[in-house]
């Protein structure tokens, strides 16, 4: 049973991690918490549904196409919610993302209807070993999400373009002075954020189905992950996501299956009080 729980919690955790990474990227780039992050997960799932079930694309193609479409969604999202408000107070952007969150759900309802939809898994069937029997999709989720995280991490940390994005996030003023096109950099960051979150949605959609409300709970839990992991830290988001996945699943099994959300958020508050900088803290100490 424990092994079963570990795999399930890892799969959930890594998806929380993807969404959490999405949060962190936007936070670092523009200093705003995106309240519509969970809805980007939902959008990814609907895009995946359209590509695989309606258009009948083969899985690998669908995966790439979904990534591309979500990146585009991210850019549009950037220009609708953030860009017009970049000069004003961050609260206004937050409100704008709340508005976007409502609108995204309703767009999904109007386009795809209110009924939940099911999506074929990438590898159908059930994996059985030892005392564990679990859908292959759980394992596929872990593998693809981890690979995606690795890729994004590599892109950000090791490549020139990633450095440009990071530089813009760390000091927009200096970035502007040395000639970085800040609009391009911030919209690219939004694109990556939407992309990884959307792929997260695509990965879990065969497991948990596609519905307009599917983003709510993962969105909030990923947010908890961001805080537990350390606000503003990409590795923190990943670790935080897995920690939340484990807390979520194991508290459901061993403490209370109905209070598991409450327990996750209690951990969030405790984490804040005990270690506000999170597990990973801010790599950049104080920007003096």
């Amino acid at each position: 049973m424990v092994l079963q729980l570990i795999i399930a919690s890892l799969a959930m955790g890594i998806v929380y991690g993807l969404v959490a990474m999405g949060f962190v990227l936007i936070w670092r780039a523009v200093g705003v918490v995106n309240f519509a992050q969970g809805d980007l997960l939902m959008a990814g799932a609907y895009v995946a549904f359209t590509l695989t079930e309606l258009e009948g694309l083969p899985m690998p193609v669908a995966l790439v196409a979904c990534a591309a479409i979500m990146a585009l969604v991210g850019v549009v999202f950037h220009f609708l919610t953030y860009w017009p408000l970049r000069k004003s107070w961050d609260m206004t952007v937050i409100i704008s993302t709340i508005g976007a969150s409502i609108a995204l759900k309703e767009i999904a309802t109007l386009v795809w209807g209110p009924a939940p939809l099911s999506v074929e898994p990438i590898i159908p069937g059930i994996a059985r070993f030892a005392s564990v029997s679990i859908e292959w999709q759980f394992l596929v989720t872990i593998v693809i999400a981890a690979a995606l995280m690795g890729m994004i991490f590599y892109l950000l940390e090791k490549t020139y373009i990633g450095n440009i994005l990071q530089a813009t996030a760390q000091d927009q003023y200096a970035a502007e002075l040395i000639g970085i096109p800040v609009v391009v950099a911030t919209s690219m960051t939004f694109a990556i954020s939407a992309l990884i979150t959307g792929i997260g949605g695509m990965l879990i959609s065969p497991i948990f189905f596609v519905s307009t409300t599917m983003g709510g709970s993962p969105g909030l839990k990923a947010f908890a992950a961001v805080i537990i992991g350390g606000f503003g830290s990409v590795p923190g988001a990943i670790i935080g996501g897995i920690v939340v996945g484990v807390i979520d699943t194991f508290s459901g099994a061993y403490i209370s299956s109905t209070y598991r959300d409450a327990i996750v958020f209690l951990c969030l508050i405790l984490a804040l009080l005990v270690r506000p900088q999170g597990i990973f803290g801010e790599k950049i100490s104080d920007k003096v």
Binding site: M1, P114, L117, S118, S217, S257, R260
Partner: protein, 379 residues
């Protein structure tokens, strides 16, 4: 789909506006106006669309045949936004539009929150929620058309223990009003049958990952699972039970044999038992005709929300026929006297507590289609 719904909106609002005009113009037109409170927006919007479909179909049929005693029936549909306060708002809205009778939402908590207003307004209201608490309100103006959970939950428990011979039953249920109430009844019934459940597990509406609960159920060695859920979760649970290799009979609530849940669960639903107010595959002529008409009109399978609301309109029509007037008091009395009205989901007879539904069916999914095994008469 988009276009369709927009046209529907136009037609609905046209009817509503027309209704207003008529009521203003001819005070004693004696036409019956049904106010409908249902969920069209927000997280629970799914049910509202089905409800509206069912109502509009019934309306078309009745008015197509010249109405009741030559008098037409009209509806006005208001959105409750899926929450308690919204339900009361929408209820008051249809009142202000001059409704003679109201049909309430499927969610019991919303019905319960409307109850005081119903009593105050003294307007006969048919609510679709199935919670046992509705009858406990003893609200003379509130009618629970649907068979109460007390009946269906007992039916599930009895079937599991007596017919399936299960000895170690695990219960899995949503923590919402309907499911937790039903689970209580089932537990009680099983205890009375001397096979108390060995495990009761819960989850919150909207939870997706049932691994912890199911892992515990599997570890407990249960020989059967009784489950009460909403639509999406029903699909999820059937799927996750299979993927975790739990090979025991599952007896679920109504949601488990809805087309939506079956579509979601696909093969995983095979063999699942359920108690149902309504299944689209019911061969009874009246039901089959409804299912076919519904499918022809909306291009999708009907499910119990549509059926319950469809029936509600017919129950109202029956009462209206006997009352002969849209007077609220007369309508109330006529509704209370509804007896053996055969609907697509059950036969309606309102008892002393204004509970109308009398029977449920035990169903099993065979080759992807729910088949009725037996009918259980509640009273």
């Amino acid at each position: 789909m988009k276009k369709m719904s927009f046209r529907k909106i136009l037609s609905v609002s046209a009817v509503a506006v027309l209704g207003c005009f008529l009521s203003a113009g001819t005070a004693n037109a004696q036409e019956l106006k049904i106010g409908v409170v249902t969920t069209l927006t927000g997280e629970k919007a799914l049910t509202g669309v089905y409800s509206r479909n069912g109502i509009m179909l019934a309306l078309e049929e009745i008015n197509g045949k010249g109405g009741v005693n030559g008098k037409k029936i009209s509806v006005m549909i208001e959105d409750d936004g899926g929450n308690d306060a919204g339900a009361v708002n929408a209820f008051n809205k249809v009142l202000s539009l001059g409704a003679d009778v109201v049909i309430g939402p499927i969610y019991s908590t919303m019905d319960l929150s409307m109850s005081p207003s119903i009593k105050k307004a003294e307007i006969p209201t048919l609510v679709i929620g199935s919670s046992n608490d509705i009858a406990k309100q003893k609200n003379p103006w509130m009618f629970q058309t649907r068979t109460a959970d007390a009946v269906s939950a007992a039916a599930i428990a009895n079937y599991a223990a007596k017919k399936l011979g299960l000895k170690k039953v695990a219960i899995l249920h949503d923590t919402d009003n309907f499911a937790s109430g039903a689970a209580e009844v089932a537990t009680k019934t099983l205890e009375d049958l001397k096979v108390p459940p060995i495990l009761v597990e819960k989850y919150n509406t909207g939870d997706k990952d049932m691994t912890p609960q199911l892992a515990k159920i599997r570890a407990s060695g249960a020989d059967g699972i009784l489950a009460w859920s909403q639509l999406v979760e029903a699909g999820l649970i059937m799927k996750q039970i299979q993927s975790m290799d739990i090979k025991v009979p599952v007896v679920g609530s109504n949601s488990y044999v809805t087309k939506i849940a079956l579509d979601l669960a696909k093969d995983n639903a095979e063999g699942v038992y359920s108690v149902a107010d309504y299944v689209y595959s019911n061969p009874a002529p009246w039901t089959a005709q409804f299912a076919a008409n519904y499918k022809a009109k909306y291009k999708l399978e009907s499910e119990f929300n549509s059926a319950m609301n469809y029936d509600a309109v017919y129950v109202i029509a029956d009462a209206f026929k006997r009352a002969g007037t849209n007077d609220k008091k007369a309508m109330r009395d006529a509704l209370a006297a509804v007896k053996e009205v055969v609907g697509v989901s059950t036969t309606y007879t309102f008892d002393a507590n204004n509970v109308g539904g009398t029977s449920v069916a035990i169903v099993q999914v065979r080759k992807g289609v729910p088949q009725i095994i037996e009918s259980v008469r509640g009273r």
